[in-house]
């Protein structure tokens, strides 16, 4: 059903694990879904990532819960446009996406002087994460 506003609940938002997100998004892409974007929210010890898809103006949402400090696969291999929003979430929430084709290393919007992930309620140290990656 075409709806401009959708209140999310268990019936219309499917839960998914990090391990399965690639196969789930592949199925959605094969079914003709367009990736709108990803949203994220800090839950304290984990980050909720919502994948928003559209098929003929119908909204479909997939929820993946990623514990802080754990990696989750990038879906840019399935939807190439996802690289930009995955970089944004990495920068703002500290979620590390595995297999990002273009990784801004936390510098898409912010500079090195920003020490902590700004959108987490308790920020993760961005500088240490970058040093570890280097």
């Amino acid at each position: 059903m075409k709806q401009s506003v959708v209140v999310l609940d268990a019936a219309n938002t499917k839960e998914c694990t990090s391990e399965n997100i690639i196969s789930v998004t592949k199925k959605l892409k094969d079914g003709g879904n367009r990736l709108i974007t990803l949203s994220s929210a800090d839950l304290g010890d984990s980050i909720d990532i919502l994948y928003h898809f559209d098929l003929d103006l119908d909204l479909a949402d997939i929820r993946v819960n990623v514990p802080k400090g754990k990696k989750t696969p990038s879906i840019a291999s399935v939807y190439p446009c996802a690289f930009l929003v995955e970089n944004e979430i990495k920068e703002h929430f500290g979620v590390d996406f595995d297999g990002l084709p273009l990784d801004f290393a936390g510098m898409l919007y912010l500079d090195e002087e920003v020490q902590k992930t700004p959108f987490c309620k308790i920020g993760i140290n961005r500088v240490e994460t970058q040093k570890q990656e280097a």
Partner: protein, 358 residues
């Protein structure tokens, strides 16, 4: 010749917005483009944690000046759904009027900037002169030229009386006539066609796969417009998305030009069918739950994800703007084009970096 890396933007004579691209060029042909954002990043989403949900209307109106009303509309729709607030019918029609006025002035602004980008300065001035009529209407109806602060949770806070309605309809007749007078110049001119036809082609499949939005998507042949979902009073109005099929810079220009005429028609329809009645329903309590709200801005689909917990402040506000969605298609258009066409191609997605970086 060895490849050269060129920084393009954020300050460039042609760019109205501070977008930065790192271009790799071979002679004068672009081989690769990598974006860099952050020059106007303000972290507005974070303010949702320290401003209550009604104060956030003023914040989201300032995400972007050009589509301030539509940001507030999308946000209010989401909060209304969480608070189960039914918007009065008259408010729904008034929302259509302001939304379409925004579309007209945004597309006129874009057409002017686009003409200026390839040196057609007199055409730029003509489009902006027409746009002033719409800005006058916005000022007269909402009290402000750019930031239209008329949305509230549950409806609108300003009305348009019969006298004002008559004046707006008379103004739109003038706007329609003047826009049509420029049609031949913008769409049939030899120079304009040389700079746009066959330049920056993006196929229907690629536009869809890369998540393009708005005229960038519709100019590639996909008839998708959020107004089809039926928010505000759009279900009561006769509306079919404007679609072009060539997917090039010219098609995107035609699409926006025709959307101006369609928006004028939608304002007329809205006034013709607008019922009398209340302007707003005042909801009680505080919002709770998660919601996704989408509306069609002049540049395309905007998405708001709102997470509320029944307290004064929201848990999370996330805004995905149409320019953010149109950056991957832009990166697809650029490789293979002449360096001289880069500013034109950037403009054809109608970039708003203020929106993109929030």
């Amino acid at each position: 010749m060895a490849r050269t890396v060129l920084p393009f933007g954020p300050q460039h004579p042609v760019l109205p917005e501070p977008l930065h691209l790192t271009l790799t060029v071979d002679d004068e042909i672009v081989k690769e483009a990598i974006p860099k954002l952050g020059y106007v990043h303000r972290g507005l989403e974070k303010l949702a944690e320290i401003r209550d949900h009604t104060q956030m209307i003023q914040i989201v109106e300032r995400v972007c000046g050009i589509c301030s009303f539509l940001h507030a509309l999308c946000y209010c729709q989401g909060i209304e759904a969480l608070m189960k607030a039914e918007v009065p019918p008259r408010a729904k029609y008034l929302r259509v009027v302001w939304a379409e006025l925004h579309r007209i002035h945004s597309h006129l602004l874009w057409l002017g900037l686009f003409a200026d980008a390839f040196g057609f300065e007199s055409l730029f001035m003509q489009f902006w002169r027409i746009r002033e009529r719409i800005m006058d209407v916005q000022e007269a109806t909402a009290g402000n030229r750019v930031i239209i602060s008329t949305n509230v949770v549950g409806g609108v806070k300003k009305d348009i009386d019969k006298e004002m309605e008559k004046w707006i309809l008379e103004t739109l007749v003038k706007v329609e006539k003047e826009v049509n007078q420029l049609k031949t110049t913008i769409l049939d001119d030899y120079t304009v066609k040389q700079r746009t036809v066959g330049i920056g082609v993006i196929s229907k499949e690629k536009a869809y796969e890369l998540g393009a939005a708005g005229p960038t998507l519709r100019a590639s042949g996909i008839a998708q417009d959020m107004r089809q979902t039926g928010y505000a009073a759009y279900p009561e109005l006769d509306f079919t998305p404007v679609v072009e099929t060539d997917g090039d810079s010219y098609a995107r220009t035609v699409c926006r030009f025709n959307e101006i005429l369609q928006a004028i028609d939608l304002v007329r329809q809205a006034f013709a069918k607008m019922p009398e009645g209340e302007l707003a329903f005042k909801p009680k309590g505080l919002p709770s739950g998660e919601v996704v709200s989408r509306v069609e801005q002049p540049r395309g689909e905007v998405l708001y994800y709102i997470k509320a917990n029944g307290k004064k402040f929201l848990d999370r506000l996330r805004i995905r703007t149409p320019t953010f969605a149109n950056i991957p298609p832009l990166l697809e258009m650029l490789p293979g084009c002449d360096l001289a066409d880069v500013p034109i191609l950037i403009l054809t997605i109608d970039p708003c970096i203020s929106c993109t970086e929030r």
